[in-house]
């Protein structure tokens, strides 16, 4: 379970958000939505301790991740899979090696076991035959899927998606949405999806958190969002050219 309590972050004089509190239960998918610059990706970087807050805490299974030592943090990070906005694949190695990368350092697997696990992950993202290509030879959607395969190869407990459908055509976006749902269902992973794509949010999320005006402006289930009369949330959804 992920608990975020009164998290506050600013960069110099610029307040990103303050007193953000929310909870993500095991197996649940939370979508964090908001305008560009509302601090969605900043929130995600806090969950993986790539950034530290000015105040507040994030508890993972009751453990405050900002207070643990670096060695323990590194072990904790291995329980997370992260799909970055641009996939963040290592461009000097092939797609296959990208997926195998964490296994080579953090598992005792032999080469055939690594191969099995990599192929299993690549099959889950429908890219079983893509291994020998380098990231530069892949399309945006393929890169995201390889990034997702790398994120799940260590069988994490938590998956963080940063704008998983941004820059993709509607059909590829739908494929990624299917994958996110598939990951949550088949691997029972707790997921947090950072997005401003309402179509994607409504398909994949159980709960929605809306960041606006430097705070957590609205937080609830998708059904509650459909019924909500929150003005800013509605304006955001309408601006997303989406009707609920």
């Amino acid at each position: 379970m992920i608990e975020i309590n009164n998290l506050t972050k600013s960069f110099g004089a610029n307040l990103v958000w303050e007193n953000v509190s929310l909870t993500v239960d095991d197996g649940e998918t939370l979508a964090v939505i908001g305008k560009s610059g509302s601090g969605k990706s900043v929130l995600m970087k806090h969950l993986n301790v790539l950034l530290y807050p000015d105040a507040g805490e994030v508890l993972i299974d009751g453990l405050n991740i900002f207070e643990i030592r670096y060695a323990k943090l590194r072990r904790l990070r291995q329980r997370f899979g992260v799909l970055f906005q641009g996939a963040a694949l290592f461009d000097s190695i092939t797609a296959y090696e990208n997926v195998a990368f964490p296994l080579r350092f953090f598992s005792d697997f032999k080469e055939n076991e690594i191969h099995e696990r990599v192929m299993e992950s690549l099959k889950l993202v429908n890219l079983a035959d893509i291994g020998i290509k380098t990231p530069a030879e892949l399309s945006g959607g393929m890169r995201k899927r390889v990034g997702l395969a790398r994120a799940i190869v260590m069988k994490p407990d938590y998956l963080l998606y940063d704008e998983p459908t941004s820059g993709l055509d509607p059909q590829t976006s739908d494929e990624i949405n299917d994958l996110i749902i598939n990951m949550a269902d088949t691997l029972d992973i707790t997921s947090i999806v950072i997005s401003h794509d309402m179509h994607s949010v409504l398909r994949v999320a159980d709960k929605v958190a809306f960041l606006d005006q430097q705070k957590l402006s609205w937080y609830g289930t998708v059904d509650e969002m459909r019924k909500s009369d929150h003005k800013e949330l509605h304006a955001f959804i309408i601006a997303s050219e989406y009707t609920i």
């Binding site: 590194r74 072990r75 990070r77 970055f84 964490p102 953090f106």
Partner: protein, 245 residues
């Protein structure tokens, strides 16, 4: 103010690299890869630079020492000692500040702005151990080798140009070189190359690792890495000469 921020971040980066150096199993393969890139791949340009430095120096020294009573082996003495004490280390460091420093800053800068360093950290790697430590160690290990290669190439260049231009016969050049040869000079050159190797790789790693702002940011990081490396090489050269000679 920015200077203090830079110094603080640089010291933290190096401290983290030293602190995590025990995780040898994590980065030993990267050290070998970096040693090849930094040392072996640099040899052609270093041999070329060293050869022509020695060749030009021999001709210029012979031009300056026109008095008939100065024995020709003096040219060999001056050229060989200058190469061993100063030129082989400094010329190769200045050349490699561009070649190696720019490569390191560009590689790490690109990784930083495309979130690859964040990805490494997110997977549970210590990115400093994985990216910085191998590059700095490779620089420290390989620069003395590069120094020796530059010195040998410089001597060969001096020998050959002295013979071809008639400035100094080969036997006299070698006689002069042997007369002034001192192991202490070589030790001084090796110490210098250790320090220059550390300066170039650590500054370039620092500039690349903290690069921000897309392609322009990577370009700036690369330029700053090369320029700062050159400046600190010259400063360190003076300090070492003052302390050790």
């Amino acid at each position: 103010m920015q200077l203090f921020v830079d110094v603080g971040r640089y010291c933290r980066l190096i401290y983290e690299a030293i602190r995590s150096s025990t995780e040898f199993g994590m980065y030993w393969k990267n050290i070998i890869i970096e040693m090849v890139k930094t040392g072996y791949d640099s040899l052609p340009i270093i041999i070329l630079a060293g050869f022509f430095t020695g060749a030009v120096m021999t001709i210029q020294t012979s031009y300056q020492l026109v008095a008939g009573f100065i024995p020709p082996e003096t040219i060999g003495s001056i050229v060989s000692q200058s190469l061993l004490i100063e030129l082989a280390a400094v010329i190769s460091a200045l050349v490699l500040a561009g070649r190696v420093g720019a490569r390191i800053a560009t590689e790490l800068g690109t990784m930083a702005v495309s979130e690859q360093i964040d990805a490494l950290e997110s997977m549970g790697f210590n990115s400093v151990t994985f990216l910085v430590m191998p590059r700095v160690l490779a620089g420290i290990f390989m620069f003395p080798v590069i120094y020796v290669a530059a010195a040998v190439a410089g001597m060969s260049g001096g020998l050959l140009s002295g013979y071809m231009t008639g400035a100094v016969p080969m036997a006299d050049f070698m006689l002069g070189a042997r007369q002034v040869f001192s192991p202490a000079d070589v030790s001084f050159g090796v110490i210098k190359s250790f320090v220059f190797g550390y300066i170039i790789t650590s500054i370039s790693c620092y500039k690349g690792y903290f690069a921000t702002g897309g392609a322009e940011g990577v370009g700036q990081a690369t330029t700053q890495a090369a320029v700062l490396s050159c400046i600190y090489i010259l400063v360190a050269d003076f300090v070492l000469a003052f302390l050790l000679l």
